[in-house]
Every structure is written in C-alpha cells, then in structure tokens.
Assembly symmetry: C2
C-alpha cells in the first residue's frame, strides 16, 4: 500500500515504517498535511487487491524484516546524504524464482547506454568471468552496458538480476523485452515501484541506489561525464561499497566519466573479471596472480652469459677484447660465452666483432 503511494526516497515514510510499522505509518500519513498528495494517494490504494493481482502475475512483495529481504538495503538508512532519494525502500517487488538473499555476494556492472564496441567487449568479459565464478551480476536492464552485462552473465551460465525503475511487469526499454522476460522467468527482476509504474527520471536515479546497496561493489565500465552510471557509483561510494573503474582510451568520450571518477580517488582500477572477484571476494578468496609478462629466452641463460650479453652492442659491433674488458672476464671466457650466445641466436659475429642478433 505504501509502496504504491510513496515516491522513491521518501525518508519520512521509511523512517515511520521502521519506528511504528507499516500500519502506523499509513495512519500517520493519512492525517491531512499541508501541500502533500500522500493522503489522497493512500486512500486510493487497495492493498489486498494489489497483492492478489501481483501474486497472479508471479510477483511477490518483500518488506524489511522478511527472511528474503536483502540486508544490504538497510545500509541506505545510514547514509547522511544531502541527496534526496536516500532511504531504505518501504518494500521491493520481485518477479522470478531467485531468492534475493543470493545477492549478498553479488557485483553490479553498470555503464552508459551508448556503449562503444570496446565497452561492449569489456563489460561482457568482466560480467562473464564474475557470473561464471558463481557471483551474481546485478544491473539495470537498460540497453548498452547493462544489456551486455546481463547477457554475458547468462552466456557464462551464471545468475543475473535486473533492478528496474518501472514496475517489474513492465518492459523498458522495448528492445530488452526478451532479456527481461528471461530474467523474470529464470532469475529475478526487482523494483521498488509497484507493478504498472512507469519509468521516470527520478525513479531511475532512485533505482541506482538500490543497485549499489544490493551488491558488494559496482564495476563502472563506460560512462560519459554526466552518465547516470556515475550516480550509481556515487551511491556505492556513500554506502562504502567497492567502486571499480575499468579504464579505456583517454580519447574516448564514454571513458571520460570513468577516468574523471577515478581521479577523484577511492576507486580501484580493474582490467578483468578476476580482479573484480579479488576486490569483492572474502579475504584471500579470489587472489589474482599479477601478470608477469612471458618468460624470455634470455632468462634461461647462465648469469655469466647474461653479463656478456648485456655488453654486446645493439648495432655496430664490438670486438671480443672490448667486450671481455667490459665484463671483467678473460678473453677466452668471453669468447666461449659469445659462441654459446651465437648458437642460441642472441648475438651475431659480423665484420668488426659482435653485435646483438635481430636488432635494427
């Protein structure tokens, strides 16, 4: 009933719900108050009929305290935010079989709707790795990065959940109809807006706080300077969730917001999914081995042959006498080393002495 009448982030109402329970909050709000549409809106609501209708559509309604209620959402009441929209939602509408408790270890992957080929590729790689490792991927069901993240999670055989700005029975955007139907059938589609609600700008912004609160961390793949995805990482930061930025070309418009956010400090830079798992995993759970570059043939040489090799000129040749002197070796030893290095292709004997093989 409250969910139907209250707009996102009405902190008075969510505070009342916590203090005196939903019934008390309704009574309180029904008392006429200057300049608020809330009493009228509450009087029009028929909560029993609403819940019955929703149930027929396979939609359930969770309230704080339910066993399935995601604990992370309660953190929204601890934000001392100057922004509006900040409270715990009075309830969540959910369509789909996946229990929301499974979101305890989830990761959000968000970014701009206008994505580049690069962003699509990287969002897919990260969401695929994360979901494939058993960590659910949460996103906003929009086109662009959101779609890539949901789709790649599904392709990896993982779980993925969409949090919408409209009712969970509605389809927005139209081109994601099949994706949203699949998520509602196999996983979950979530909204704080009751069934039938239309997406509005303010509801998109409010929805973003839920994505941040429901997950352990948010990965920002591509975002222009005023992308809504920056709003999501802003919430994640306020909620002390991990913010992970994926860099891109500094020449790319849709990486500008990511780099700018990163330069403010506090975010991690991630380049692939394993690094995301490392950030959000339990301590020591998904440790990434820092990439080292391939072992080079040079690394296999004996230390003394390496020393000789280091003194062989790149271009014009040096004689064995000069090389031996630079290495403080007997000429005979330097010569044997050079012969060994020649047979393994490191150096070349040319007119005037020795030089590196293959150098320009």
């Amino acid at each position: 009933m409250l969910s139907r009448a209250v707009e996102p982030g009405d902190r008075t109402t969510s505070s009342l719900v916590r203090q005196i329970g939903p019934q008390g909050a309704v009574r309180e709000q029904l008392a006429p108050k200057a300049d608020s549409g809330l009493p009228d809106r509450l009087r029009e609501v028929d909560p029993v009929r609403e819940l019955e209708q929703a149930e027929r559509q396979g939609i359930r309604f969770l309230v704080p305290g339910d066993p399935e209620w995601p604990q992370g959402l309660d953190d929204l009441d601890h934000i001392d935010s100057v922004q509006a929209l900040g409270g715990t939602p009075p309830g969540l509408w959910v369509k789909g079989p996946m229990p929301l408790t499974e979101l305890d270890t989830s990761v959000a992957v968000v970014g701009s709707r206008a994505l580049s080929v690069y962003g699509d590729e990287v969002a897919r790689a990260i969401a695929g790795t994360v979901a494939g490792a058993g960590v659910p991927v949460v996103s906003g069901g929009a086109k662009g990065i959101d779609f890539a993240a949901h789709d790649a999670a599904l392709l990896a055989g993982g779980a993925t959940v969409a949090v919408l700005a409209c009712g969970v029975d509605r389809v927005y955007p139209e081109q994601n109809r099949r994706l949203l139907a699949h998520l509602a059938a196999e996983f979950a589609v979530v909204s704080e807006q009751p069934p039938g609600s239309a997406p509005t700008r303010i509801r998109f912004l409010a929805r973003n706080r839920l994505i941040a609160a429901l997950t352990r961390g948010t990965v920002l793949v591509e975002a222009a300077l005023r992308s809504g995805a920056l709003n999501t990482v802003g919430w994640a930061e306020q909620l002390s969730r991990s913010v992970m930025c994926v860099p891109g070309p500094v020449t790319s418009y849709v990486s500008q917001g990511v780099h700018e956010w990163f330069r403010r400090g506090g975010a991690s830079l991630v380049t692939h999914g394993a690094e995301v798992l490392e950030v959000v995993g339990a301590a020591g759970e998904h440790l990434v081995v820092a990439p080292r570059g391939e072992e080079r043939p040079r690394d296999q040489l004996s230390r003394s042959d390496q020393l000789v090799l280091e003194q062989v000129p790149v271009s014009s040749p040096a004689c064995v006498v000069s090389i031996a002197r630079l290495c403080s070796l007997h000429i005979r030893d330097a010569d044997s080393a050079l012969r060994r290095l020649e047979s393994s292709g490191f150096v070349r004997e040319v007119e005037g002495g020795w030089r590196l093989a293959g150098a320009s």
Copy 2:
C-alpha cells in the same frame, strides 16, 4: 677519464669521487685489485685528448659541482636500492646549446618502442601540451613513444632533451638520425657514456635512471608487461618523483604494463597534458578544472518545471492528474508546467497523456 673507464652505476667509483674527488678516485682505482678491469681501462684513457676531441665536436663534459650540473642527479646517491646501476654518474656528456639547469622543471614522457596508433596520439597530445606550457620534455630518443614525445614537443614550439644509452655523437636508432641531430643542434642530447660508446642492454637500463632523476615526474604512456619503460618509472618511484600513468584499452597489450603498474598503487592517472602540469607544477600553478560535461537544456529550467519533468514517464504516457499528484501540485499548475515543457521540446502530449519527447 673515469667516465670512459667506468660502467654505469659503479657506486664504488661515484662514492670515491664524492669523498676524495675525481683525481683521488683515479689514483685509488689504479691500485691493482683482484678481478677488476678498471686499472687497465683507466691507464688506456687520455683525458686531455678526450676532452679536446669532444670539444671539437661541440660536446661538453659536466661533473658534479659544475653550475650546469642538474641537482636532481644527486638524488641517485640517496637510493637504498637493491638494484645495481644506482649511483650518481661520474659525469655527463652533453651536446647542444640548452643549459641542463632548465631541466629542473622538466617532465619525462616514456613508453614502449612498439607503440599503437592510440599511444602515438596520446603521447603527442601530452608532450605537446606540456612542452607548449614551457615545461621541457625529456625522453630516450628511441622509436615509438620516445619519438612521438620529442617530435610533438618540437611541433608545439617547446624544448625537449634526449638522454641516450650510447655516446651523444652516435645515432641510435638509425631512423631517428634527423631527430637526434636536431636536438643536438637546438636543444640537448645527454649521456653518461663518453663519445663513441655503443648502446648495450645494461647502458639502456642505467640510462633510465637518469631520465627519472633529471625530471620532476615521468609519464608512462604505453608499456607491455616487461617494457623497459617500466624500469624508468621504477626509478622515478624510488626517487620520489611523480609517476603518471596514461590508461588505455584493457584489451591492448601495450597498456597492460601501465595498468599493472598503476594497480600497484602510488601513481597518478592522467588523461591529458593539463593534468600532468598540475601534478608536476608548483602548488596551485597549473590547476585543472575538473571536466563537468556540457550544460544540459534541462539545467536551465525552473526548479518546479524540473520537478514536473522528473515525473513524466519515459515511454507510455501519464495523464496530467497522475503527474500532478506525483509532484504534489495542483492540476492547473502541473498543466502549465507541462505546456511550458512541451514548447521547449522536453515532453510530448500523446493519446493518454504526457511522455518525454525524444525517448525511445
């Protein structure tokens, strides 16, 4: 004389030079010592002839204490490094009219020799901005990022200096002949190796410490995981110089080393030259205004029109009664706001009510 006989980073010799002066160091080193080629090599050197020859080629030799000696180099003796090659060089050979004291405010721009189109573009943009602002650009005179940095600094009308692993009279690599000749004629080419010296692997590594020590900070544009440019930023870090990493596509091989370095912590992320100037400039000298994204038409609306706009659905329409209720406004006021928003192109009246204009 010592410069001719000593290989890079011979810390015994540079320590002796500081303690008992160059003459004393030569006497000390001429005493026969087990397993060192140094006495032999010193005996072969004719310092007077060397310096005369160099002078005829327009090459000068600086030693610590000279008015032109770059102060930054002395920091090399304060590194408690496990790496070899760490000491202040016994001297510097310089060809070109630019006094090295001008490097006090300089910036190094380094990266891989195998650069991408992206790396070329970004190195040029950054070096051009930095040099154009009167801050000299130092690099290694190699192909790839080095060439792009030198060339862009010249095109911007700025100063740029190459620090070489070979003698300043030599050309390496061959394809940079014209660049190096131009730098030697108009700016400066620098090396700790005496004229005629060939470039060897160990001299490249030793050269990198000079690039780091001569500058206020090092910008790393592109580097694969084992690029020599990472060696330069390693020196910069040890010398407490700023390390600035330019991100790139996470899918690019030549950005991998940059991202990996960055993830270790301690470096700044920079996306253009103004940010580099901000990092290395005197406090408050080159402050960057954080990019904000363009002002949107929405930002020009009155607060109450913005509130109404936020409640207009993206896709299927809502009637004025419902919108008024969501905004807690009288229907008449909501209607005037919607008309204003329609005339400025934000919303559209369609069958069933109002929706955002231009949304999909």
